[in-house]
Symmetry: C2
DNA sequence: AGAGCGATTGTGAACGCTAACAGGAGGCAA
DNA sequence: TTGCCTCCTGTTAGCGTTCACAATCGCTCT
């Protein structure tokens, strides 16, 4: 049966041999043209290209991968991919990978569990990815990763530095110091902290940075209040804070919270609402600083001072790290990339900007 | 040179032949065990599985794809993947695909252009995806898609219904009618509209639904105000609206905007801020309804009445549609899935809830 | 003239898997 | 016993590439 006239599954896509025949050369010459080999006569090249064009030929990536042992595919495991941070990282990462000639396959986790992570990595490995970027910021996840002994180049994002796995992260402690320092510098005796869930490395690091900044400044360190990143948890904690302000004001004033550093913008939104509902003014009664700089932050009431993270840079760095691992054949290297965040001052912390 | 002792690139991963040898069977029997064929003796199966386990064997997906002509990979082209809607759709979509045994490769577009779309699809085709989901809601994109004549099963999300490409979408017009109807029902003489950019099908459909609802109710139809989905554009338009309220109040009262239907929650956030800055109360002076129900909406000041879209369902539906196309070998079928949105009433539109 | 070299092309053998077919063992009917 | 069917297993031939090697041509160099 002649090629292209298969009956069952319709005409098959043309192969290199088809192109070769049409161009009057061998399949190998076609391959050479496609791979930009030198030593192909210009006339021949043109002839081959014409045949390719006419047939609408495309190289079969599976056949190619089989013989070259390169799938040109990278895997990503991402947790909470609807949040602004992970989504932005994913975007930068995919673009960078594409620029490097790789395709990206993603597995999303709604919630982290050890088996979910393990299954996700299995799924990617089954499909032959050459390397994996893991964006799962729970501390537990990161240690699970080392135990999994994945024989593939791997990079973690926000994965902490105590591991034998290369990582890319924003300097969370620095961000927390910037936020806390800013509030101290504007005259507050101390700064309260609304933290994220403590099984997240980012939450832990922000808390550590906040505490360090206070201690260095000789300021008292209040008990941190722990939320779960959601606006709702911020709202509840905000109500509690408002209660303290009122109570302390009645009893021995000037001891209550006058400044709060919230570990992310969404919780900060909840805090803002709770404070306002309690009749408090931000920043006059209480100054608030968030973390992330989500697009909405500038339009909160009042606009939120926050710490901006360059998520795109994180994504790009994770790919360039992974690709370098691939190129050097090293399965793991102790490399870390740390990206500094920066403070964006808006009205929620500075009375002058109100 | 014996297998597994290659010098250059380290030991190669074991092959089916290695497993076969270790288990004392032929490679074909190994294949049969892996494919759950009947007619394999239980003892043999166990023996093979043990050998697989011991060697840590995994099937080579490229070799498999080469002979079966199935890559088990689906492609996604997504625009604006950091927005809550697209990100959620992506999440639901990937989970559904994984359940069906497919892997998902994504190409993100920061901004839509015809060539960017075309390149994205090329990139996916080069890697042998079996089908493509396109989440690019600009009208232009959708028509470009038909002209591209991609010989692959394809599904669009929010791609409109006038095309020969199957699509999944939320009933945007219904959403707009729900929002507008709700505002009319609470006693407002008419409803203003802050629209999204008019080259987006969703913006157009929401505008159409809003207009239809007004006309059916015999209410006057103000000129829609067009934004670009960002909080900033909402803020600017909000200032304009506030100006009108003030002006009309001075001149011939009761004619100015008392209710606004904003085409997405982010712009609504900007509108809320502008109104508040102008000294207006929401919902007393002006009622506001948004669209999307992003997680933050409940914590805006005041909490935002909005239209909730089930993005997860959209993602799932797009995969089940695409998979059914794959199974039936049909390259294109005129199928559409329409998912109804629902109204979530909060304080921004109902004085009683304030 | 013959050797030698670079440029250009072709030939054959993998890559690791599945599909198709062949074949042996055992059971049962004739 | 023979024949045939069912269960189980092995053998062979691709799938569409790339890689290693050989072959040819037209030169230049000795």
């Amino acid at each position: 049966m002649p090629r292209g006239v298969e009956s069952a599954a319709g005409p098959r896509p043309p192969t290199m041999a088809d192109v070769a025949q049409r161009a009057g050369v061998s399949h190998q010459t076609v391959s050479r043209v496609l791979s930009d080999h030198p030593h192909v006569r210009e006339v021949t090249r043109a002839e081959v290209l014409r045949a390719i064009e006419e047939l609408g030929y495309r190289r079969n990536s599976s056949a190619r991968a089989l013989v070259t042992r390169r799938t040109l595919t990278l895997g990503v495991v991402a947790c909470h991919p609807t949040l602004f941070g992970p989504a932005s990282t994913l975007l930068g990462l995919e673009e960078a990978a594409r620029d490097e000639g790789y395709m990206v396959s993603t597995v999303n986790l709604r919630h982290y569990t050890r088996t979910a992570l393990s299954d996700a990595i299995d799924h990617l490995r089954d499909r032959g990815v050459e390397g994996i970027v893991v964006i799962v910021p729970q501390r537990e996840a990161v240690s699970a990763l080392t135990e999994l002994k994945v024989p593939l180049p791997m990079v973690t994002v926000e994965g902490g530095h105590d591991l034998k796995i290369p990582s890319v992260s924003v300097d969370q402690q620095l961000g927390a110091r910037l936020a806390t320092g800013h509030l101290l510098a504007t005259g507050h005796p101390t700064v309260w902290h609304v933290a994220g869930p403590m099984d997240w490395l980012e939450a832990e690091a922000r808390c550590t940075g906040w505490r360090a900044a206070l201690e260095e400044a000789g300021a008292p360190v209040p008990e941190p209040l722990v939320g779960d990143w959601t606006p709702l948890s911020g709202y509840r904690i905000g109500q509690e804070l408002a209660g303290r302000v009122a109570m302390d004001a009645a009893q021995r004033r000037a001891q209550g919270p006058t400044a709060v550093f919230v570990a992310n913008d969404q919780m900060a939104l909840g805090v803002l609402r709770a404070l306002r509902e309690a009749g408090m003014s931000v920043p006059d009664d209480v100054a608030v600083v968030g973390f992330d700089d989500i697009p909405e932050a500038e339009f909160f009431l009042p606009p939120l001072t926050t710490i901006r993270q360059n998520f795109t840079a994180v994504g790009q760095a994770s790919i360039s790290l992974l690709v370098s691992l691939l190129d050097t054949q090293a399965t793991r290297r102790d490399e870390r990339v740390v990206i500094p965040p920066r403070l964006v001052i808006r009205a929620s912390s500075a009375a002058a900007l109100r």
